[in-house]
């Protein structure tokens, strides 16, 4: 069956089952002719025959029909045997098989169902019943196949898009290079609410020990949000010349986002420069979540600032520069909005407190890997529901 791959508008139940192929298996010529005539009269165009079980299996292997009408009593391979063999082959697990049995024969019926028959047709064959059964099973099959095809196509397209998305995230080689050059270990965790999502992060190495890091979170989820994340990633790339100047950099990004985005589309962004010589993280935010700093000196965990308007709203936003100390052994956590939303509390301030406590107990534990895993595990344990937004977190750990 060759189904169009086109998208369906409106009701998907409208399709023609008359082009479905039907294999009639019966050793009696009279029965084959009779069934064929009934089907043709109703408009079915593709009907083929097999005169016994062996021929039926051969024809199905060559080209599987959309439905089979099967007689039980045949010389050689009988109907039960044919059915059993078909069902043992995964390719034919879904093929509707309608078995003809006499009404009186309860044992036959039970046996037919036991070997994997889809449904029964009572002999002597009643025209209306035959057609009703055939239609019911074909309509179901076509509808299900159509939806399955749609799903398979999109899954493969989304898989490809996901690979493109993964390709944009910093490669391990880049993270290692920064780890060596700047003595900062970087770990991240991303959990998208579907195959594609609207959060993204990246690293921008500089000529000296400094490097830039951003985390962006586009409104919405799914493909549409991902398209804007891809766009912003391109924009970051295009204006990378200003990476050392966070305020300028983010306003350049914002101006372009305003041009590219439609009203209602926006993104929260945090961008900062890690400077291991000056021991600081200098950053700007466009309504991004407050960065969390855990100091190795045992002092309390510090929350950074959240200010600015999301990117894409207005061209003349001025971003303010903020500084967090980032000394050897310190750890810094950047995260998307979904992290807070996933926490039990509904109140933002309360959620921040919870996250703060969590960070205090996890961020400094063990290696960067350990800390990241612990934060993620804690968050997952605390989340009240299945994630319905995209979540990314980035952990920066300065070597002691």
């Amino acid at each position: 069956m060759n189904l169009p791959v086109a998208m369906f508008g409106g009701d998907i139940r409208q399709f023609d089952i008359m082009d479905c192929s039907i294999l009639v298996v019966d050793d009696t010529e009279f029965n084959r002719t009779l069934i064929t005539a009934m089907l043709q009269e109703d408009g079915f165009r593709r009907i083929d025959h097999a005169i016994d079980g062996v021929e039926a299996l051969r024809k199905i292997a060559e080209e599987p029909p959309d439905l089979m009408i099967l007689d039980i009593v045949m010389p050689g391979l009988d109907g039960f045997e044919v059915c059993q063999r078909l069902r043992s082959d995964e390719r034919f697990a879904d093929l509707p098989v309608l078995v003809q049995t006499a009404l009186s024969d309860t044992e036959d019926r039970n046996r037919a169902f036991a070997v994997g028959t889809t449904d029964l047709i009572i002999k002597p064959i009643d025209r209306k019943e035959l057609l009703a059964r055939v239609r019911i099973h074909l309509e179901n099959r076509v509808l299900i196949q159509k939806l399955q095809l749609y799903r398979a196509r999109l899954e493969s397209e989304l898989f490809m898009a996901r690979e493109m998305y993964n390709h944009l995230l910093p490669a391990p080689a880049l993270m290692n290079a920064i780890g060596q050059n700047s003595a900062v270990q970087i770990r991240s965790h991303t959990a998208l609410s579907s195959e594609l999502g609207g959060t993204m992060w990246d690293l921008l190495p500089m000529d000296d020990e400094r490097f830039g890091v951003y985390l962006l979170d586009v409104t919405g989820i799914g493909v549409s949000a991902a398209l804007n994340a891809f766009r912003l990633h391109t924009v970051f790339n295009e204006v990378a010349a200003w990476a050392a100047d966070p305020t300028r950099f983010l306003s350049e990004v914002n101006q372009r986002a305003v041009e590219l985005f439609e009203s209602g589309e926006r993104a929260a962004i945090i961008y900062g420069v890690v400077d291991p010589i000056e021991d600081c993280f200098t950053y700007v935010t466009a309504a991004a979540e407050r960065p969390i700093l855990a100091g190795s000196d045992g002092a309390e965990v510090r929350l950074g600032v959240m200010d600015g308007l999301p990117v894409g709203v207005s061209a003349d936003v001025r971003y303010r520069l903020h500084v967090l100390p980032f000394k050897p052994g310190d750890r810094l956590l950047l995260y998307s909005n979904a992290v807070l939303n996933g926490l039990v509390s509904t109140d933002r301030g309360a959620a921040e407190t919870v996250l703060n406590d969590l960070a205090g107990s996890c961020l400094l534990s063990g290696s960067a890997d350990d800390a990241c895993l612990r934060v993620v595990a804690k968050l997952e344990g605390m989340s009240a529901k299945e994630p319905d937004d995209d979540m990314t977190l980035v952990l920066l750990a300065r070597d002691p």
Binding site: M7, E90, A93, D94, D119, A161, L227, T234
Partner: protein, 392 residues
């Protein structure tokens, strides 16, 4: 169990509503279903009760007697189906073998299937199972479909907004004497084709037509990226070959291995009555002056963008005086598989253009080409076609 082997349905949890006015029948059906493993069974004693229960319980399957006082089974069927959210709810009617007329009427009223009376336990359980499995599978597939369609239609409208709006084209026609008609048709919800038209500093129109490898969701992000890059670029002293070189260098680091795009970019240079362009492996531009009986092919060889940084491109020119028409297309049009299993080819497309060359109305011209293409085969790649006419 046969059928949709891939789905394992938790039958224990499936909610079955038994509708029968006869108490003995109800008990019998319940007993049979319980023995078959169904634990979640409700009963209704008449039609009105059935409708209330369907509403309140949202059953997964209804087992319905036809002959009932007041509201009979046919009417119950019709009313259940009147609610679109119940379109996939399996309704099995009980019918005696002799009741062939009843069955026809029941199907017309929206019944999914029937079980013959007197009830045979194996048959009943098999039918119930088959339809429950179908329903579960349909439910999950439809859910996926709906979720995706919502997301993709949003993405689709975003992609359409990347392209010039008709008001822009009207302005170009009155201000620049250049009429442009475009057709953009992704092969599915999203596509890898992109086109644009803007002006350089001297006010000369520049036209782009780009075709990324692949199609669908996997190709679409690249069109957004390219669009963002083009918005960044300086169009002063516009030189097509240099522009292409620049675009290629910017897009190369972004694309995943194996992805690339063909691209044609050109400027309509009124002062010199020519179309100056550069191509990265795009299909050839077709151009013809007023009164000519066929189009001329422009050379369009060149390395697609995204393959190698530093790739060089060549400026080329075709005469384009007043009254000339230029036809640009993505290879979805020229590489159309015709119904007799052949590729149409650029020559074939040029023949179609020739056959319509007398058509002065650009909308009719473009529609004529698309109609011809559709009559030859179905599009299985994104199709973009642009016709530009220099007005006299």
């Amino acid at each position: 169990m046969s059928g949709k082997a891939a789905t394992t349905v938790n039958l224990i949890n499936a909610r079955v509503l038994v509708v029968d006015d006869n108490r003995v029948n109800r008990l019998l059906l319940m007993a049979l279903l319980q023995r078959g493993g169904f634990a979640n069974i409700s009963v209704a004693e008449d039609g009105a009760d059935a409708l209330l229960q369907v509403e309140a319980l949202c059953p997964d399957l209804v087992l319905l007697d036809l002959m009932m006082p007041n509201l009979d089974g046919f009417e119950v069927c019709r009313r259940i189906r009147a609610d679109p959210s119940n379109r996939d709810l399996p309704i099995l009617v009980q019918s005696s073998l002799s009741g062939s007329e009843d069955r026809t009427r029941a199907f017309a009223a929206g019944a999914t299937d029937f079980v013959s009376k007197p009830i045979n336990s194996t048959e009943l359980l098999s039918r119930v199972r088959i339809h429950l499995e179908n329903r579960t599978l349909l439910k999950s597939l439809r859910h996926y479909h709906r979720r995706r369609q919502d997301d993709l239609s949003l993405a689709r409208s975003m992609q359409e907004r990347l392209l010039p709006q008709s008001s822009q084209l009207v302005r170009m026609e009155t201000e620049k004497g250049l009429r442009l008609r475009a057709h953009f048709e992704p092969s599915s919800e999203l596509g890898g084709d992109f086109w644009d038209v803007r002006y350089d500093r001297q006010g000369r129109p520049i036209v782009w037509l780009v075709d990324f490898s692949g199609h669908g969701v996997g190709a679409a992000p690249n069109t957004f990226r390219l669009h963002a890059i083009l918005r960044q670029m300086d169009l002063n002293n516009f030189d097509p070959a240099e522009h292409l070189w620049d675009v290629n260098d910017r897009i190369c680091p972004l694309l995943r291995n194996g992805q690339f795009a063909t691209m044609l970019v050109g400027v309509i240079d009124k002062a010199h009555d020519r179309f100056q362009y550069a191509s990265a492996g795009a299909p050839p531009p077709l151009i013809w002056q007023a009164g000519m009986d066929g189009p001329v092919f422009g050379d369009s060889s060149g390395l697609p963008i995204g393959i190698r940084t530093g790739a060089q491109y060549e400026n080329r020119a075709l005469p384009m005086g007043a009254g000339s028409r230029l036809f640009l297309f993505s290879d979805g049009a020229s590489e159309l598989w015709t119904d007799d299993d052949q590729v149409l080819g650029e020559e074939g497309l040029a023949e179609i253009v020739t056959s319509l060359i007398e058509q002065q109305d650009d909308d009719h011209f473009l529609n004529g080409i698309l109609e011809k293409l559709r009559s030859l085969g179905s599009f299985n790649d994104d199709v973009t076609a642009l016709v530009l006419k220099r007005l006299s």
